[in-house]
Amino acid sequence: MTVRWKFKDLSTGTEATLAINPNQGGSPGVDKSVNAVHVLAPNRRAIVWEGTAKPSNMEFSGVIITQAHLEMLELWAVKRTLVQITDDLGRIYQGVIAAFHPTRERRAFNYWYHTYQMTFMPTAMKNASGTVVYGEIVASV
């Protein structure tokens, strides 16, 4: 049985389930701020610095085939609240939806067919094993 992605508004407790899971993306990476310079001598020895870790976006994309699915994503995208996403692997992300870009594509028998890209900026992540990878997982109201 397919496990659907769930969105949860942490300020109100409202929940929504995606009609169709994204078909691409959905795992945030790690972006560190590492820079290198070299000294003057001919050996060009490298000096490596590390700065503040940058927040890493999670991008995912998929298809929309129903009016309800599109409008649900539109409503969640404009929220300026903290959102929790639970994916089909049981991973939990908390953060904000940073971007939503739907693209309508012609389909003779489905006027609501879209593809979309969504960018989510997680501020906290708990992996499928239940370990908080970074940030602080807060409970909803």
Binding site: S11, S33, V34, N35, V37, H38, V39, L40, A41, N43, R45, A46, I47, V48, W49, E50, G51, T52, R80, T81, L82, G95, V96, T123, A124, Y134, G135, E136
Partner: protein, 778 residues
């Protein structure tokens, strides 16, 4: 520089070699903000008020350690000759915290959290005239603990280094709410790099880029912005005048001699040998009463039945902490005592004769060797010259022929001492053309033996007073705090130069001047340097150019204010040197310098002027470079209106030549930041293209720490000094040939000490400090 033997310094040295400033060793900068307040105290010795910017007992701690997580970059610029160092902080205007989410509408703590007056309603205005329902006067925000702190004159401390004790197991900084949180001040991986006062804070509006730019100056701001006038200085001291201590006593050459700083403080006494507690009172009189600078109080000995019995030797002992002395001053109650002076140096009492003491029913341990003996005459005051200069650890005065004191219990014969001083008397300056003015009455405030005392006093009035210097002894200039009874000192190090005023300064000399202008006026004609260090302390001394080595100043170290003859910090093109340029510039070079004194009579024979020729045979020689060009620098009388002797003018000319020397061969280095490096340090540079292997003087450091990229670098301005101060046979090996200094300069006590330091060059041992006259734990 910081103590090269400390663990943190050694860790930095290892990091320089590895080049891996990542992970747990990544650059870290932390900042704290403290609400400022200047406290005022009066002292027992001199009228105040003595002001303290630091050491505020009401200093709130709740703000410390919070704002640090909002800081994105720290830039510090500090240089010799700069009145105040500057610090610029780039911050994000959000609620600090590692895991706090920002910019989300429902979060009442979101952006703008650090903006002053946030959450405070504006009276009389409720809504926008445009009917914008969101334009509320508080925007729904509640006041918070941090919103009124980024205001001008908030006290800021910056802590920087590599790594942090505050990292969790994954290398993330802990939140202040974490029980294992380590505050910046307790972080052993970081060092204090500056104490600042905010000048200007710029807040950027809008939620897209809520940033704050904070511009600060160090505590030199107190000296720059405050002026010398009654209220800042005691009314009784206005107009501010400094005069020599009246002393017409002549040395063996018939020249007046100047007394240095009293270095004695109470150590122990004969009564203490069988007292239950140290410094016990005898009929209400304690040993410390002979060291408090007050003639009305005195130490009283135990009593004897006979004045000259073989056990009737009472003694009082001072701790001089290894300072150089060659004279003691004793002022007693009554006269006629025989007094022996004993000096302990290198752990032994010096002298070939012993005090003929025989213990009575208990032993006072009075039978030690002595170096001088005298009789206290009818004036009850005596100055005793010692056979030579001693690095005295202890000085003991032992009295015999005790005098009768009536009205006291037990036996009648005792000794009482009002004051006991130990000091260095100098005759180094050529006083041939000494001009005497009318001195004010003796013992008046404003009479000084060394210009460092004037600088110290100015700093104390402006806000550098250390109101409770326990367990250190009080600075004689300040004495005891009237309100708390604690010993007071000035927060800083002030090197005793051995050069004080020859005549009284004119009444308008310091008029309409800021404290900094007055200090600069003194510092510049002495050829010294003055700056505020990383701890917020004032530093006054001769520049560190006379001998190879470095001062070590580390408030947490036992080697405080000591000196090492090594150069632990290198700029090496294969290790830590990221860029280097060397410049040769003759624009300031002169062949001779003439300094004109006050009111020179150009028609008379006795024109007051002195000069210095930079040529063959002089300590600083540019004759090869100028190829016969004659370039004269003339310093007019207007700027030296206090000079009345040719000797003074010549000293200034030679010290000016030293400054000119520093302008010729300069370096500009970009290095990986070394937090242990300070201005007035010496470093060694190795760079193959510019053929650099020499020792350089550091006159300026601009550090830049970008916490987002992790880059932490320093741009350092340097001046070539040479390689070997001791070996002058190799011409050009050191920029100043000290052996060729004119005697007037060479014999200045401070120069003598600096040159003596070079005799132990290469040992790497920490030597006793030259600059320990100040307050930093000395």
């Amino acid at each position: 520089m910081l103590d090269p033997n400390s663990q943190i310094f050694r860790d930095w040295q290892d990091l320089m070699v590895s080049g891996e400033f990542v992970g747990r060793n990544r650059p870290v900068g932390r900042v704290t903000f403290v609400e400022p307040w200047i406290t005022r105290n009066n002292s027992t010795s001199r009228p105040g008020p003595w002001r303290s910017q630091l050491f505020n007992p009401a200093e709130p701690v709740w703000l410390e350690n919070w704002v640090e997580l909002s800081v994105r970059s720290i830039s510090i610029s500090r240089s010799i000759g700069q009145d105040a160092a500057t610090c610029t902080l780039s911050m994000v205007n959000v609620r600090p915290g590692q895991y706090v989410r920002q910019g989300i509408d429902e979060d009442p703590f979101g952006v703008g959290y650090l903006t002053p007056y946030r959450g405070m309603a504006t009276a009389g205005v409720s809504t926008s005239v445009y009917g914008d329902e969101h334009a509320e006067t508080t925007w729904g925000y509640a006041p918070n603990d941090l919103s009124n702190q980024l205001l001008p004159n908030t006290l800021v401390r910056t802590y920087q280094g590599y790594g942090s004790d505050n990292f969790d197991e994954n290398g993330h900084p802990r939140d202040p709410s974490d029980p294992l949180y380590v505050s910046p001040a307790n972080d052993s991986k970081l060092v204090l790099t500056g104490v600042w006062l905010i000048d200007r804070a710029t807040f950027v509006g809008g939620t897209e880029s809520p940033t704050i730019n904070v511009e600060c100056r160090d505590l030199g701001k107190l000296l720059i912005e405050q002026f010398i006038f009654p209220k800042m200085i005691p009314m009784s001291r206005f107009p501010l005048v400094y005069s020599p201590i009246p002393d017409t006593e002549a040395d063996q050459n018939g020249q007046p001699a100047s007394a240095g700083r009293n270095t004695a403080r109470y150590d122990t006494s004969a009564p203490d040998q069988h007292s239950y507690y140290p410094n016990g009172a005898v009929s209400g009189h304690k040993g410390t009463d002979a060291f408090d600078g007050r003639e009305e109080t005195y130490w009283l000995s135990h009593s004897y039945e006979h004045p000259s019995s073989s056990d009737a030797y009472e003694w009082l002992q001072a701790d001089c902490d290894g300072d150089e002395i060659n004279e003691v001053y004793i002022h007693t109650v009554k006269s006629g005592y025989t007094v022996y002076v004993s000096v302990k140096e290198d752990g032994t009492w010096k002298g070939s004769n012993s005090i003929p003491y025989t213990p009575g029913d208990h032993n006072h341990n009075a039978g030690i060797d002595y170096v001088a003996k005298s009789v206290i005459g009818s004036s009850a005051k005596v100055k005793i010259k010692l056979p030579r200069t001693y690095k005295a650890e202890k000085v003991r005065i032992t009295f015999h022929n005790l005098q009768e004191f009536t009205g006291l219990p037990y036996f009648p014969y005792r000794v009482a001492v009002r004051e006991f001083h130990c000091y260095m008397r100098s005759t180094a300056i050529d006083w041939n053309n000494y001009v005497f003015d009318n001195f004010p009455p003796a013992a008046e405030p404003g009479q000084i033996s060394d210009w460092s005392e004037a600088i110290k006093e100015l700093c104390g009035w402006a806000g550098f007073t250390w109101p409770d210097a326990s367990p250190n002894h009080a600075d004689p200039l300040l004495g005891i705090c009237e309100a708390t009874g604690t010993p007071m000192r000035i927060w800083g190090d002030f090197e005793v130069l051995g050069s004080g005023p020859i005549i009284s300064t004119p009444g308008d000399y310091f008029m309409n001047k800021s404290f900094m202008e007055a200090i600069r006026q003194i510092v510049d004609f002495l050829g010294g340097i003055f700056y505020i260090d990383h701890t917020g302390g004032a530093q006054f001394r001769m520049p560190n150019i006379w001998a190879p080595g470095n001062f070590v100043c580390d408030v947490d170290s036992v080697s405080l204010a000591a000196r090492t003859n090594t150069h632990p910090i290198e700029f090496n093109d294969g290790i830590n040197l990221l860029g280097y340029t060397m410049t040769l510039d003759d624009s300031q070079i002169r062949s001779e310098i003439v300094v004109v004194g006050k009111d020179p009579d150009i028609k008379g024979e006795g024109m007051v002027a002195g000069g210095f020729k930079l040529g063959n045979g002089s300590a600083i020689d540019f004759s090869d470079l100028l190829n016969g060009q004659v370039r004269l620098m003339m310093i007019p009388g207007e700027s030296t209106k206090n000079f009345k002797t040719n000797a003074e003018c010549a000293v200034m000319a030679e010290l000016t030549a030293v400054q000119i020397m520093m302008t010729y061969r300069k370096g500009s280095a970009q290095i990986i930041a070394h937090p242990g490096l300070h201005i007035d340090d010496q470093v060694r540079i190795f760079e193959r293209v510019t053929n650099e292997t020499a020792i350089h003087y550091v006159s300026g450091i601009e550090s830049s720490m970008d916490l987002e990229s992790g880059e932490y670098t320093m741009n350092v301005t340097t001046h070539w000094l040479g390689t070997d101060a001791a070996n002058h046979a190799d011409e050009g090996s050191w920029v100043i040939d000290a052996q060729k200094l004119t005697p007037t300069v060479q014999l200045l006590p401070v120069i003598l000490k600096r040159l003596a330091a070079s005799n132990t060059a290469g040992t790497g041992d920490l030597q006793p400090a030259n600059a320990k006259s100040g307050a930093l734990g000395a």
